[in-house]
């Protein structure tokens, strides 16, 4: 099962967020040197969302993620080294190098880079958990951009109709790739959920403790059989959508960087504790990439057809 220490003290929350931050900062540094093949979508600036929400997870719960999944995966309790190896295309990666940045399956964590399509799958998982009376909760992360996909609304309808144990988390980072939300979203985000009878809470997300508290109330309510609910977190990514593709106003980015969730939470820690965590996490990140870089690539012989042929 999940290896994560689900402790909720301030130091642990800071460590969890910093692990995501430093892991991805290092990742972005590696792109220009050509060490990374492929792409990435970073979570820098949104760390408090995953850490706060997933602090409420219980054993057996399921997490469904998207293209921007590294932060969710680390907060879920996934191995940083296995994630580094996956991004570097190594045999030791989470999926042996087959999935890469956007396609991760480990334990009860599922990510796919095609937006929207994961949402009915999450509904089906919640259906099964309910049918088998396992009392698990399905956390489903989507973004503002995914609200443009029609299948999301099919899914909200079914989740509510069947009163399933599913927790929708919308991370509104205000941009779908390069397009600001005002150019692709009509109406109201919360009303989208409410139209299907799903209670939705909106929050200007910057403080991991506030997010955790909200998620705690919502997840407890869903666990008692009240059906699906949503938490809309208005957030911001400090880094580009992918690698170098940032066309946003630098002043705007600076404005949001001034309300960095890590800095906000770090202020709660003693300097000594903060320093210790920063040293330890920097070392962990360094080691994760170093080990991954020394791991072998998958052998061509490891490629197998997915299904047997007929005769």
């Amino acid at each position: 099962m999940r290896m994560k220490n689900n402790s909720r003290n301030d130091a642990d929350q800071y460590r969890e967020m910093l692990r995501i931050r430093l892991f991805e900062e290092r990742l972005l540094e590696m792109f220009p040197s050509g060490q990374i093949y492929g792409t990435t979508h970073t979570y820098i600036g949104q760390e408090a969302n995953a850490v706060g929400v997933l602090a409420t997870m219980q054993a057996g719960d399921v997490v469904v993620s998207n293209h921007r999944c590294h932060g969710h995966f680390l907060a879920y309790g996934g191995s940083m080294q296995a994630l580094a190896a996956e991004l570097l295309g190594r045999k030791t990666g989470i999926c042996g190098g087959r999935g890469g940045s956007q396609h991760i399956k480990w334990e009860n964590f599922f990510a796919n880079g095609v937006l929207g399509g994961t949402v009915p799958i999450a509904v089906g998982m919640a259906y099964a958990e309910n049918a088998m009376k396992r009392d698990a909760l399905v956390y489903t992360f989507i973004g503002d951009g995914t609200l443009g996909e029609g299948v999301v609304y099919e899914s909200l309808n079914m989740a509510s109709l069947w009163k399933l144990p599913i927790f929708f988390i919308v991370e509104n980072n205000r941009y779908a790739q390069s397009t600001p939300v005002e150019l692709n979203l009509a109406g109201d985000m919360r009303a989208r959920f409410e139209a299907f009878g799903i209670t939705a809470t909106e929050h200007e997300a910057c403080d991991v403790l506030e997010i955790m508290q909200l998620a705690e109330g919502i997840s407890n309510s869903i666990r008692t059989g009240n059906g699906p609910q949503a938490l809309i977190l208005h957030t911001y990514r400090f880094a580009p959508h992918s690698k170098g593709d940032d066309t946003r106003d630098p002043d705007e980015i600076a404005r949001y960087r001034a309300r960095d969730p890590l800095q906000k939470h770090a202020a709660r820690l003693q300097q000594k504790v903060k320093d210790e965590i920063e040293t330890a996490v920097a070392g962990e990140v360094e080691l994760a990439y170093l080990r991954a870089e020394n791991d072998p690539f998958p052998a061509a012989e490891s490629l197998a057809l997915p299904l047997e042929e007929s005769s």
């Binding site: 999926c95 087959r98 599922f110 399509g117 009915p120 089906g124 099964a128 088998m132 099919e154 057809l305």
Partner: protein, 332 residues
């Protein structure tokens, strides 16, 4: 005399009875309606918890099936008309077909999506198509075609109970009312089953001499092919044989190749449009395997939408007459 519809309905019932992990989802499948093609009749009455009527959300319900399968259930999702499978293409191609392989076998998806395809009922351009060719060759997705030969219910049972990978099960709607052709009482045909699970069948007219031509057809086209075989034998003294595969993708042509190496003449018959179709792949693979002295012909739908009006619908879709003509051309 069991019809294909009865065989499929009984098999669904048997699957639901056999395993409490089996769930059946679809639009309008509850009693007393029992599904648009009546394959679900009686099931919701017997298994009210596990026969689930769904909103009109084809992409959504295939996704729900994938999610259920990932968490240990064995869902069967009915798509009311095969034409609507286009709505679920993302779910089948980008999710169901990929998840096992991407995860290095860490996840399995025992999902069956069943759907009636095909024309001949006057339903017009968007309710008559044969769309499975768009899913053939999608790695990780098994595409299986029901036929009236042997036991179509066993094919469904294999997919639902024994297959841990996603299956798109294609059922031609003209097969439903027809009676099945069991191996031991196939009348004028000798039928040999080759392979287990999703078998391939070899049919010949009983007592006929060595065949001069090998036909290959699946689903309802195998019914037309049998009629053509009979006519060619009785009217022209042209003796043929027929290969009927059930697993269309992934597809290995061993049985057909073995026969083609003897007859050197193959006629591939499909109801999908001709261009970039199943028959094109059959022809290409046969020519790769048997590079010299081989003649392959194709009968397929014309490359146009299927009209609603009966006489012009017949013009677009393959017919016994066209199969007979093409067979004779190959033998000139």
């Amino acid at each position: 005399m069991t019809t294909v519809r009865e065989a499929m309905n009984e098999s669904l019932e048997a699957c639901l009875r056999e395993s409490s992990e089996v769930y059946f989802l679809g639009e309008d499948i509850l009693d007393p309606y029992g599904g648009a093609f009546k394959l679900a009749v009686g099931l919701s009455t017997q298994f009210p918890e596990r026969v689930v009527t769904t909103p009109v959300s084809e992409a959504g319900i295939v996704g729900v099936g994938i999610g259920m399968a990932l968490r240990g259930l064995r869902p069967v999702v009915e798509i009311m008309f095969g034409d609507f499978i286009a709505l679920a293409a993302d779910q089948l191609i980008n999710h169901a077909a990929k998840i096992r392989w991407m995860s290095g076998d860490a996840a399995r998806i025992p999902l069956v999506v069943r759907t009636p395809m095909g024309g001949g009922r006057g339903y017009g351009p968007t309710h008559s198509q044969t769309l499975e060719k768009h899913f053939l060759g999608a790695p990780g997705l098994r595409v299986v075609a029901v036929s009236d030969v042997d036991d179509p219910g066993a094919l469904l049972h294999q997919a639902v109970i024994h297959d841990d990978d996603p299956v798109l099960l294609v059922e031609h709607k003209l097969l439903y009312p027809g009676t099945i052709l069991p191996l031991d009482e196939a009348g004028e045909f000798d039928i040999v089953r080759q392979g287990a699970g999703y078998p391939t069948y070899l049919l010949r007219l009983r007592g006929s001499p060595e065949p001069k031509l090998t036909m290959a057809a699946y689903g309802y086209m195998a019914v037309l092919a049998r009629k053509a075989m009979r006519d060619l034998a009785y009217e022209k003294e042209i003796f043929t044989e027929l290969i009927v595969p059930t697993q269309l993708s992934p597809f290995k042509l061993d049985n057909l190749c073995r026969r083609a190496s003897r007859t050197r003449r193959v006629l591939a018959i499909e109801e999908g449009t001709r261009t970039m179709g199943w028959g094109a792949e059959v022809s290409a693979r046969l020519h790769e395997a048997l590079p010299s002295s081989l003649w392959v012909g194709r009968v397929a739908a014309l490359d146009m939408p299927i009209p609603a009006s009966a006489p012009i619908e017949m013009e677009v879709l393959p017919s016994v007459a066209r199969i007979k003509n093409m067979a004779q051309e190959l033998l000139v």
